[in-house]
């Protein structure tokens, strides 16, 4: 088994990033779109931790903590907005959020 290098981790994060992007672009359910965004943020964190280990610098891990904080804030506000929307219109489909043209 070849040694696992930072490049391996970056490749993993790239793949995760791409999967998240596909999710955001193709799904109709807005909750799942939000979940795909979490996937992207996790890809960022994998990157940061891999670099942190490679560079022997703790700053990457500190950055990752902030990304997690941001993910929490975004999820809280996003789910609040979804509930507000659901109250006015009983749907969570992105295609039916069509009062304005995309």
């Amino acid at each position: 088994m070849p040694e696992v290098t930072t490049a391996h981790y970056i490749f993993l994060s790239t793949a995760l990033f791409t999967i998240g992007t596909i999710g955001v672009l193709t799904r109709r359910n807005v909750v799942i779109i939000l979940m795909s965004i979490e996937l992207i943020l996790n890809a960022v964190n994998i990157n940061l931790v891999a670099f942190s280990k490679q560079l022997l610098s703790i700053n990457g891990q500190a950055f990752a903590v902030f990304i997690i904080v941001d993910a929490a804030a975004e999820a809280a506000v996003g789910l609040g907005i979804i509930i507000a929307l659901f109250r006015n219109k009983e749907t969570i489909n992105a295609d039916e959020i069509d009062l304005m043209k995309w």
């Binding site: 930072t6 970056i10 990033f17 998240g20 955001v24 807005v30 779109i33 939000l34 965004i37 992207i40 943020l41 890809a43 960022v44 990157n47 940061l48 891999a50 670099f51 490679q54 560079l55 610098s57 700053n59 990457g60 500190a62 950055f63 902030f66 990304i67 904080v69 941001d70 804030a73 975004e74 506000v77 996003g78 907005i81 979804i82 507000a84 929307l85 109250r87 006015n88 219109k89 992105a94 959020i97 009062l99 304005m100 043209k101 995309w102």
Partner: protein
């Protein structure tokens, strides 16, 4: 821990700290207020902005006395130079005007909660930090502080479906773009082993030319930033969000956050990505042409005035990016002046739209403005000034910004770009003129007058005056912008 932080570090942040404290204060005093005197929240918030302005003024004069061109704080995470001071003034002014035009609007919508003003203040704090930040993490967190505040402000009319939908769209695409931006930032960190922009710049300069990792970072950072400023092809959220958001919020985010996003854009492209300019320049040229084209052409067919101004905002982003394309002193000066002027004229135009919101009329269709000349001549005339300025006709201020940007293009030899840009000004004149013709040529469809509250009067007066003053007597402002350029080029 005294060796790491001095009180001076916090003094540099005084405006931000004051804004946050007043934001929390607004939420607390809101609990004591009866339903009919909620306007007091706006007063508190305005006082907060006033205090922050005074603090900013004091820091600035202190800086002049010291003769120091720049204050660094928090081990270089915050840099207060004339670039950030310039932007801070734009933010403070746009926040103050947004607060005074929101009072009547929120009363009409029956959503006049203190949280609205508190969140505006928090967003302003985020914007100031965004303009002063020199560290990737600081920039990312303050960017999120700003955009999350604006998601909330966009969805603030939660009984209104358009507002909900706009907020949701903005949040989904905004969070997506933040993710992409963060990916780019993580790569920058990995390349340079630092989160400080200046250190990244020096590390990036040492990389071999055409380094794929750098290219990947440039692409992801650019994509994220294009989303934030609303450049083609990442502009789709912008017209929808402008249309669905409450009127004052649209006014606010078309000015303050846009300027803040542009400040981030300039900082990232000039400082850390400066050494790899030849990699992103073609990308930037293509995107700016596409942005101007789409913004101007799509604006022609709009029937909703907020949407129209949204597309016009996209086209302005195209012009602004041209300043970065030329990248010389004149171009950067042009960007600064443009953003300052844009703040006044765009806020003015949106203030007129806010005034159109009456008891039973949302007032954001172009037809709603029919015969405004006969109902409220002042508003109509002022609207004409703002629209002329947006189109860039002398002697209004809008001309000045476009002038410097086109000049810089000529100076750096981008003649084709300059010709394209000038052509699109003509297109812009056409669709701005449509609004004018509706206001002047058509008969009013109803008798109800625009709601010209005192706040709106003040806002209109200030913005119109500034639009004309900057246009007629531009020297002090150009001087101010010149110093900004020196700061960002250092």
């Amino acid at each position: 821990m005294n060796e790491y932080f001095t009180p001076g570090d916090f003094l540099v942040l005084k405006p931000v700290i004051l804004l946050v404290l007043f934001g929390m204060g607004v939420m607390l005093t809101d609990l004591l207020l009866e339903k009919h005197n909620k306007y007091f929240n706006a007063v508190t918030a305005l006082v907060g902005v006033g205090f922050a302005s005074v603090a900013m003024w004091m820091i600035q004069s202190q800086m002049n006395r010291d003769g120091a061109g720049v204050y660094e704080a928090f081990r270089g995470a915050i840099v207060l130079d004339s670039f950030s001071i310039f932007f801070t003034w734009i933010f403070l002014i746009s926040t103050a005007i947004t607060i005074i035009i929101s009072i009547r609007y929120l009363e009409i919508e029956e959503e006049n909660h203190g949280e609205h003003y508190a969140i505006i203040l928090f967003a302003t704090a985020g914007m100031i930090l965004l303009a002063t930040g020199m560290d990737l993490i600081t920039l990312f967190v303050s960017l999120e502080l700003m955009v999350i505040s604006i998601y909330i402000l966009t969805g603030f009319l939660k009984r209104d479906r358009r507002s909900n939908e706009a907020a949701l769209k903005y949040l989904l695409l905004g969070a997506f773009s933040s993710g992409i931006l963060a990916y780019g930032m993580s790569l920058l960190y990995g390349i340079s082993n630092s989160t400080n922009l200046v250190e990244i710049q020096s590390k990036l300069a040492q990389r071999p030319a055409g380094d794929p990792l750098v290219m990947m970072a440039v692409v992801t950072l650019a994509a994220g930033l294009f989303f934030k400023i609303g450049a083609v092809p990442f502009h789709q959220w912008l017209p929808d969000v402008y249309e669905g958001a409450p009127h004052p919020t649209t006014a606010f985010m078309s000015v303050g956050p846009k300027a803040a996003a542009f400040a981030l854009f300039l900082r990232i492209f000039m400082v850390p990505l400066g050494p790899v300019r030849d990699q992103w320049l073609p990308l930037l040229i293509g995107v700016s042409i596409a942005t101007m084209t789409l913004g101007n052409l799509a604006a022609i067919s709009q029937s909703n005035i907020k949407r129209l101004l949204g597309y016009s905002a996209i086209s302005h982003v195209g012009y602004l990016m041209l300043g970065l394309v030329s990248g010389n002193d004149t171009g950067l000066k042009g960007i600064s002046i443009y953003l300052l002027v844009y703040a006044f004229m765009n806020l003015g135009a949106f203030t007129v739209i806010v005034a159109m919101r009456r008891r039973d009329l949302i007032g954001d269709e172009i037809d709603d403005m029919a015969g405004l000349m006969y109902k409220s001549p002042t508003a109509a005339v002022l609207m004409v000034i703002f629209l002329l300025s947006l189109a860039g006709i002398p002697p209004t201020a809008g001309f000045l910004g476009k002038y410097f940007i086109f000049l810089s293009l000529l100076e750096t030899g981008h003649y084709t770009l300059a010709v394209i840009a000038v052509l699109y000004v003509a297109v812009a004149l056409y669709y701005y003129f449509r609004i004018v013709s509706v206001m002047f040529m058509r008969e009013p469809i109803d008798k109800e007058l625009p709601s010209m509250s005192p706040g709106i009067r003040v806002a209109l007066g200030v913005t119109a005056a500034m639009t004309l003053i900057i246009g007629i007597y531009p020297n002090p402002f150009i001087e101010f912008a010149n110093r900004t350029v020196l700061a960002v080029m250092r």
